[in-house]
């Protein structure tokens, strides 16, 4: 087994990197202990790990939703550690949180519109794409998102993020609670998106399928990198399989 924890990434400088991040919520104890997450342009990076490892926290940190007391976040070479979340959005970052990730009182369509809030161009085509990806949403476009089923909510959430036409897309467990068929659809779509040069950074518990398609995988344990390698390699690592992927 190979320790890649803080090894520099293969190839050119990463498009988005949160480097050696340490921090926690408010005055609470640190959750992250010098953890590093990066993704190259047009690639897919997947974070896996036990519950409470700090995956979501790491994502939030990268998006500037909790203040780090050490470490930095760089987007396309520029340091954005100090930027506020919505500034990051305007710089082309999109994020789907793990929980409460839709506007429950607004209709599905309005949710998508809000996703495209910063866009000035015509959003129709993108919306059509989202509807093609998640047909069920087309039928429910006029329904308050709060009345949707768990899986449908998840689809709305991802759809919302797609609407931002981001240059890097961050997904926290996008497939939690969606049916296998939709999950496959979703992953397919994610691959396509990546092919168009958009970087994808996602947390997954359906780790096997996720690592399948990942260029790079991170295993977080207690807020620190335990393993870092290509998705394939991690899948192949029996230790990782046993302890994190459920055998």
């Amino acid at each position: 087994m190979t320790e890649h924890a803080s090894a520099p990434l293969a190839g050119d400088a990463p498009f988005l990197i949160g480097e050696a991040m340490s921090g926690g919520y408010g005055t609470g104890p640190d959750i992250l202990h010098g953890c590093t997450i990066a993704v190259n342009r047009g690639e897919i990076a997947v974070i896996v790990g036990p519950n409470g490892a700090g995956k979501s926290t790491a994502m939030k940190a990268v998006f500037g939703m909790l203040d780090l007391h050490s470490g930095s976040v760089r987007l396309d070479g520029q340091d954005i550690t100090a930027l506020s979340p919505q500034e990051r959005v305007s710089r082309g970052m999109g994020f789907v949180p793990q929980t409460s990730n839709i506007f429950t009182s607004m209709t599905v369509e309005e949710n998508l519109e809000m996703g495209a809030f910063l866009r000035r161009d015509d959003i129709r085509p993108t919306m059509e794409q989202v509807y093609d990806l998640f047909p069920i949403l087309r039928d429910k476009r006029r329904q308050p998102a709060g009345e949707l089923s768990g899986g449908q909510r998840q689809q709305v959430a991802v759809g919302r993020a797609l609407m931002t036409k981001p240059s890097v897309l961050m997904l926290d467990e996008p497939t939690a609670g969606v049916s296998p068929i939709v999950m496959d659809e979703l992953f397919d779509r994610i691959i396509e998106i990546a092919r168009t040069g958009i970087s994808i950074l996602m947390v997954e518990q359906n780790a096997r399928q996720a690592l399948e398609i990942a260029h790079r995988g991170y295993v977080l344990v207690q807020g620190a990198n335990a393993y870092t390698d290509t998705g394939k390699a991690l899948l192949a690592d029996p230790e990782v399989r046993r302890t994190f992927l459920g055998g």
Partner: protein, 337 residues
């Protein structure tokens, strides 16, 4: 025949017109309350006094205009001064938000804290207004008082019942309708309006969608200030300006907002009318009307009054409770935090 007419006129003059006007006045106030609740998610007890402040600043300007001999002919000069009043009020609420509310918003405090804080603000405004203009009532209405006065009506129609419509009433009703329509359109259709709703729904996610919370909040306050001033001035024109009354208005205003469903503009106006009509109609003594309609023989000697006017307030609240029992979040399915 003319008896029937008289009866109708009486009812119109003593129930329909006053209730409609009063309803619109409540609705205008309720709109402000409902907007704050809808976007910033708390019941703002300072609204009554915000209205008072708005009215006051308008009055001061009005007086100045009047002293300059500037006026609007038949229309009250106050309308001319309104923009200035709005500006002043906007300033006030924005300062308040910066110094007071923002802190709790950042701290993600429970709504009830904001409610209590708004009470604090209420006290302060309360003192402020009395400080500047004093507690007595001020009259600043000018221009034509009536569209049609009871006397003229009697002369015109020869009926022995009068019918009076004050211009202030007319203005109020029209304004109310326009404002409601505007707000509805604004919140439901425009991008900005939607972003405000999004903010109220899920602040963090709004952030992630690139919506600037500070901007939303500011916009809300500006709207509220404008609404409060308009409501306050129109009310003052119709009745008279007295700080204490504006505080008293708070109760029926909230009732209106709640019956209609907090957060819904349409609800506000519907609520306003429900409260107003239940106050005016249910305690109305039908003696006179009955007198016109019934033959001499059966003319009632009692008042034919369901409840004495002492209970008009109680009545409107009974109605409110009943409505809520069937529609727990108001007629138009309001929010609840």
């Amino acid at each position: 025949m003319s008896d029937i007419l008289n009866a109708l006129v009486a009812i119109t003059n003593f129930i329909l017109i006053p209730a409609t006007a009063y309803g619109s006045q409540l609705a205008l106030g309720a709109l402000g309350v409902t907007l704050i609740y809808g976007i910033l998610r708390f019941s703002n007890f300072a609204h009554g006094d915000t209205m008072a402040f708005g009215a006051m600043s308008t009055i001061l300007v009005t007086w100045w205009l009047q002293s300059q001999g500037i006026g609007l002919g038949p229309l009250p000069t106050a309308l001319l001064a309104l923009p200035a009043g709005v500006a002043a009020t906007v300033l006030l609420v924005l300062v308040t938000d910066r110094t007071v509310y923002r802190f709790y918003r950042r701290a993600k405090a429970k709504p009830v804290f904001l409610v209590i804080v708004s009470m604090g603000v209420m006290f302060v405004y309360n003192g402020l207004v009395r400080f500047i203009i004093g507690p007595d009532d001020q009259n600043f209405a000018d221009g034509a008082r009536f569209l049609i006065s009871a006397r003229d009506f009697k002369q015109m129609t020869g009926l022995d019942e009068g019918l009076a419509i004050r211009s202030s009433q007319a203005i109020t009703i029209v304004t109310a309708v326009i404002v409601v329509a505007f707000l509805f359109w604004f919140l439901e259709r425009t991008r900005t309006g939607k972003s405000m709703r999004a903010f109220s729904d899920n602040e963090d996610l709004a952030l992630l969608s690139g919506i600037n919370p500070e901007r939303v909040v500011m916009l809300t306050w500006v709207l509220v200030a404008a609404l409060a001033t308009i409501a306050g001035v129109l009310y003052g024109l119709d009745k008279s300006f007295k700080p204490f009354t504006y505080f008293q208005l708070l109760l029926p205003i909230f009732a209106a907002a709640i019956v209609g469903g907090l957060g819904s503009p349409l609800g506000a106006i519907a609520g306003g009318f429900i409260i107003a009509f239940s106050e005016v109609a249910i305690t109305y003594a039908f003696k006179k009307v009955a007198g016109y309609l019934l033959p001499e023989a059966w003319e009632p000697d009692g008042l034919v009054q369901l409840l004495s006017t002492d209970y008009k307030f109680a009545v409107s609240f009974v109605i409110l409770v009943i409505v809520l029992l069937f529609r727990p979040t108001g007629l138009f399915r309001g929010k609840a935090v």
